[in-house]
Structures are given as C-alpha cells and as structure tokens.
Symmetry: C4
Subunit: 239 residues, 4 copies
C-alpha cells in the first residue's frame, strides 16, 4: 500500500469514528471516499458498525458495488448508494449515509429542511426527499440494487444532501472532511428546526447567504478547526 | 452448569447491561430469556437494577413465576409478566419489560405509536395499550399476579410489543438479541414520533414494508452488527 | 462523632453526589437531613456545589437556620427553606431544594404537574406553586428569611413537593432516600409531561393509584434497588 | 510575562474549556478578556476550537482586531466582535461569542427570549436581535470588519446579551466569570423557554426581580460556587 493510500484509509477510519461519536450513525450507516489513486473506485469498510471500524476493515470497490478483491466476507448491503453517486458525480469525493434520528423526521412529515444558521449552509437551499416506494414499490427500504442507487443519485442531482423517506439521508461532497461536516451540521440544522415546530415562519438563510457561508465553512480554516475538534472529541486519531 | 447454559446466562447479563446503557431501563425494568435446556422455564436476575446484574444473579423460574430453587432472597415482583408471556407464546424466547421515558407518553395520551423508519419495523404495525385498571381496578400498576400477567399476555396477542398505561412496555421476540433490538428501537421510534407532535400526518411504513424491514433487521447481518455495537458501547462483554 | 452520625453524614454526601449526577442540581441547589441524634437540628453542607461536597463540609443547624457552631465560613443563603420545613413537619426527615430545568416550566406556565407513571407517584396528586412575590413583593427570589421559609412551608402543607415560581422546587420526605427518589422522579415526570404538551388530555394516575404506587416505591425493595443504582452511576460511595 | 498576566491567561484558557464542556461552543465560538495590564487591548486565542485552547495560544490584540505581535498565524476571523465591544463599552471586561444551538432559535423565529428563572437573570430584560443583512446585505454572516463589529456593538447597547440572526449570540460582562455565567445561563434560559413553546403566556421575571437576581448571581458567593463547579466538570484547572 502506498503512503498516500494509507493516509486516505486512516482518514476514512477517523471519519467513521467521528460520525459515530457525534451520533450521526449508530449501529448502522457508513461513510466512503473515492479511491485516491483510482477515481473509478471507492473505499468503504466491510460490514461493521462505524464505531468499531479499523484500517484493516477498509476495502476497495468498483462503481457497481463489487469488491475489487473477493474475500467472501460480509459487506454492507447498501454499497449501491456509494457506487451510484460516485458514478454520477465526478465532483463527489466522499459520501456519508446515515440514519440520524433528528434528520429522519424531515423525510416523513410535511416539514421543509433548509439552512437556518451559517455553519449549516453546506446542506444547500433545496434538499430533495427520495422515496424508494415511488419507483420500486414495497421494499425493505434499503438501497440494494444499482438501479435503486442510480435513482437515488438522480434525486440527489447536483446537491450535497438528499433525504430518504423512512430511512435516513445521504451527504455527498468534494472531500471527506466536507462530507463529514455536511452530515454533522445536517443533524444540527434538523435539531434547530425541530425546536421551532409550531413557532410560525423561520427567518432562514437566503440563497446568496448559503453560497457565501458554504464557501467559508469549506475554506481550510473552518474545515481544519472543526476536524481537529471532532478528532479530539472522538478520541481516535488513527495510526 | 453446562457450557450452553453458561453461555445463555452470560448473554443475558450482557443484555441487562446493554439495555441500561442505552437508557431503556433505569433502576427498574428487567429482561428474561427462555431456559435454553428446558423450554418450560425462564432465566431472570434476582432483584437488582439491570446495570448491576452479574452472572451470579441469574435464576431459573417456572411459568408460575416461582423460582426453581427457593433461596429466600429478593426477587422482582413482576415475574408474572415473563412467565405469562412464555406460557402463552411458545415462539417467544426473550422478554424485555421497561419504563423507557420516551415510550411512556404513547400509553397515556392520544398518540399512536407505529414504525416510521426501517430499523424500527420490528415493533410491528399494531401496538396495543394495556390498562391494568380496566380489569383490576385501582392498583400500584405492577403486574404482580399471574392473572394480571395473563391478561397482559392476551393483550400482547401475537405481536412483539404492548404498551402499559402509566407504567411502561413489554417487548417479546424470538431470540434475546431480537428482543433487545426491539426494545431499543421501540425507544428510538417513540423519540422520532415525539419530535413530530403537531406536525400533521406522518408518512409511516406500510404493513408490507414493516414485514420486509423486520426480516432484514432480524437477519444475522444486522443483528450481529448491532449487537457488537451495543456491547462495545456498554463496555461489558461478560466473562 | 458517633458512628451513627458519621453514617448519616456519609449518606448525605452520597445524596449530594447522586442529585448532581442525575442533573437534579447544578452549581446550585442543596439537600439536608434531620440530625439523627437531635430532631431539632438538621445537617447541611456549607456553601458548595453539591457535586463537590465531602463529609468535612457537613454542618449542623438549628431550625432558625443558624449553624450550631459558628466558624465564620460561607453558608447557603437559603437555609430557611430547610429549617422552616423541619419545624413545620415533624414527619419530614430530609429536604431537597433544586432548580431542575425540566421542573421549572411547571412553575411559570399554565401547566399542571401530576404523576403520570407509577415510579413518579410519590410527588403526589396536588402540587402547589409558591410565588414569593405574592407576599414579599419584588425580591431576588431566594428564600433568605425565616418568614419566607415559613410561608413556603405553609404552601407545601402536608405534601412532598412544592414548586417555586421562577426559581425551582422543594421535595420533602420521611427519609433521605425517599426525598432523593422524589426529587429525581419529579424531574422524570416533568420531562414526560413536557413531551406531551399539545397532545390533548393525559391519562394520569388516579389518587388511589398514587397512594398504592407510592407505598410500593417507598418500600424497602424499590428504594434500595434504586439507591444502589444511583450510587453506581455517580461513582461515589462515600468513605 | 507578569504573574498577573499569567493568571489572566490561565483563567481565559479555563473559560474556553468550560464553555466547550457545557456545550455553549462547539468547533466554533470564542471567548476574550480585556488585557489586565492594558485596558486598550484584549486577550484571545489564535484560531482553535475552544476545547483545544492552551495558554500558548493566547494572543493580545488592539481594538482594531490586529494582533500586537504579527506571527503570520491563523487567527479567528471574527476578532471585530471583541474589539468593537471593548472599544464601545469600557465597563466590559470579557466577551463570549457562541453558536449555542438552543439560543439560535430565538434569533430566527418570532420568539422573545427573556429571563424566566433567577439564575438566568443576568441575560437582562431586553435582548436585541442583530441582523447583519439589515445594513450589510448578503454576507457569510460572519462579523469580519470593524464596521460590522461596531454595528453589532451599537445593537448590544448597554446590555449584556445580543442575538445574531442565523449565527449565534454575544455575551459581554464586567468580568470573565460573569461573562461565562451569562453565556451558560443564556443557554439554560433558552432551553427552558423552548420547552414551553405553545403553552401560552409565561410568568417571567419582572425588571425589578431581574435587577435583584443579577446582583445576587454576580455576588462573590454565587459566582465562585458556580465557577468551582464548572471547573470540576470540565476537568481542566489550567497550570
């Protein structure tokens, strides 16, 4: 393994631990990154709760969701989420799929999620809700086929976040740290809005503000400050 | 003690710790499993807060709630909950009784609890509310007689979950891990719905989706992943 | 110091730590007990946050709130809460005064606090709200004079709990463990009811159920089980 | 460095840790104090998450937000918040800027924040909401110029707290400990009021009560008791 790949793997393990510590994922959910040396592959853990993932668990996959090396081991069933988004979006370098319990309400009720505070701007102005039932009828709600993954990727469009009815959400961004930040502040924004149910109209960020705030949040200063903080909190720096 | 029994006892202790750590039980509440070598008995701790239970606390009981061996020690008063459900439901291998503070509201207000996200599907489409007052008048609300336990078991019917007005709930399932998962995600689903009070209609899972999601959640992949995660969180693996 | 007194002091220190760990008190709030060898005195820490109290901080006071031995040190300003209740209520053996953030809403809004689940029955069917402004006009809301303390004690009447508008609450009971249990489940009941704001009528416990549930909760089985649990959680057993 | 300055720096580091531990700040937010030996300067960390700040990170700045010594290192972009308030308010000795997630709702919805319990009185009777958009149009919401800082300081007026729409809040007070207490109880008061959304009118503190309660809260007894408690909780006493 090259040093570059080893660093990427390590960063991906840290991302798993951060998302678990911040409550974005529990036993379920996963985070992937595009392979740093081969843009038509992505890195993802084999099937384990994110809090328990170590470097030895990380595997490489093709966009079809198949592992590059078949070891006959248990893999996440929802690999098509990741493969389909990387295939559809060359700009996306990392994908988080989570069941954050504060985000789920916005996929199942008549509530519109939109950024209300500057740090949450990266979630974007228009957040679509994908319902697997629309095209695939009754299922176990999991994205288990590439056709389902491609339909979800279409719904995500050019944005960073899509909600999944009765299931969770995806956050896709231009770097691993951006995707982690988007997933964490997606949860924060959801919590903020839930506190305001029944309070009347909300003075949300405007599209112009969203663009300017996102630029700032994804700048190296904010991204590094936040990453250092999350690493310290989860107590795991990798090897 | 056979190795098989020792393993069951150990798993039951771990279940106690998991439920305490996840906040499903506090000082009160208990979890039992059917005896692995004698299906007409069940295993349950003597009277202790679940967080403090160790292997030496586990005792065997008959369906009448009486201990197989009388040691003159303090026992949970609500043994009839467990005995009555095992007697009525040969398919049930484990029972959790809890006072989860997020579930209780659904037993005392005009709110219908039903699965809104795939991981919570095992709680089932129709969750009855049992009110001890209906048949037994004013009591301390505890299920202290076999007659009361049998009435609760009748209310549970063929389902996995029943709420108990002003008291708590029971979760009964085909294995210890399934029962623990059901109890934990019962709490999660309750929290999700409480966030949505006053938001209008909820787009809940359909009965077909509930069946398909439950099959997946109770499959070995999801069950083991979740169990490993909960064990890591509670920091207790048993002996 | 007799062994009996040393045990009482130790138990009182543990009570301080439990209440802090369970979030019933923060930097402020205090718990006292009637002196085990002199029923016209009570034991209370000198002025410290409950989480930091040790045995050396415990002092004896008369019902007038004056320390038996004047050491010229900082004392809680609100000693009149404790002295006045012990003077008015020979049956009371311990008093908790807290600012639990979940209980405060019931003293400042049109919300009636009443037991909705069996473990919370000890808070009683009728919980009065005391407003210092009614008799004493604008103040800093603290109970700093014996006249104020006596007015609060009158409002408490023969009950176990009184709310204090814009300030907090008191819980008084027949033993230290009962008072701690009452204060903790007062907070639990408040949280339960706050989850149900806007849900319509609540199916609360009836007066008969409240009496029967309280008898059970204050029985040695429940009281000891809960105490052992809270001690384990706060990680402090005293000396 | 004089002993006096070293003590101030140490206290400022502890304040950073307390605010992080109490959840008032996350990766973002900052706390400053007026320089103890030069009232036209203030002390603030270089750019780091407050939870990670150590004594070596503290720098001195002029009211224009420029560092006294230019080391070419990363600094908080929002130094104008601090400099502008110190310039406008000779009575202010410390400033906290935070994004507390419980306070933000009051800057974006039709909800009036005001003290409802004695410990929260220092936040003041009238809490203005500053909207950067009013004067500066679409921005990234950060206070990055002295003109913006001065506009915020004008909005703060003679008070201790101002909310910032879609961004957070500032708390300014006559000592570092007072500012920290104000910021923490600002969050508590917000949480209390959010629990009561939809409950009808609130019986808040009167202006006279606010004045009397603030005097007590800022007295040495309460301030020291609370500080000792927060220090113990965050587990950091400095060097």
């Amino acid at each position: 393994m090259t040093e570059r790949l080893a660093e990427a793997v390590n960063e991906l393990v840290v991302a798993n631990r951060i998302l678990a510590h911040e409550g974005v994922v529990d036993a379920f959910g996963h985070v992937s990154m595009r392979h740093p040396e081969n843009p038509s592959r992505f890195l993802l853990s084999r099937s384990r709760a994110p809090e328990l993932v170590v470097a030895d668990d990380i595997r490489a996959f093709g966009f079809d969701g198949e592992p590059i090396e078949d070891r006959g081991e248990r893999l996440y069933g929802e690999r098509p989420i990741h493969g389909s988004i990387y295939a559809a979006r060359p700009d996306v370098m990392a994908v988080v799929h989570s069941h954050s319990f504060e985000v789920i309400p916005f996929g199942i009720a008549d509530l519109r999620l939109r950024p209300v505070v500057h740090v949450c701007a990266p979630i974007g102005a228009d957040i679509p809700v994908w319902d697997i039932r629309d095209k695939f009828g009754p299922t176990n709600l999991l994205v288990l086929t590439n056709e389902q993954g491609q339909d979800l990727a279409r719904c995500l469009g050019t944005g960073r976040v899509a909600l999944m009815r009765g299931h969770g959400s995806v956050a896709a961004a231009g770097s691993l740290r951006e995707a982690v930040m988007t997933a964490i502040y997606l949860q924060v924004n959801a919590r903020l809005q839930l506190q305001l149910v029944g309070c009347g109209p909300i003075n949300a960020l405007t599209p112009e503000e969203i663009a300017l705030c996102t630029e700032r949040q994804f700048g190296p200063l904010a991204l590094r400050k936040a990453w250092d903080y999350w690493v310290a909190r989860c107590g795991y720096q990798g090897s």
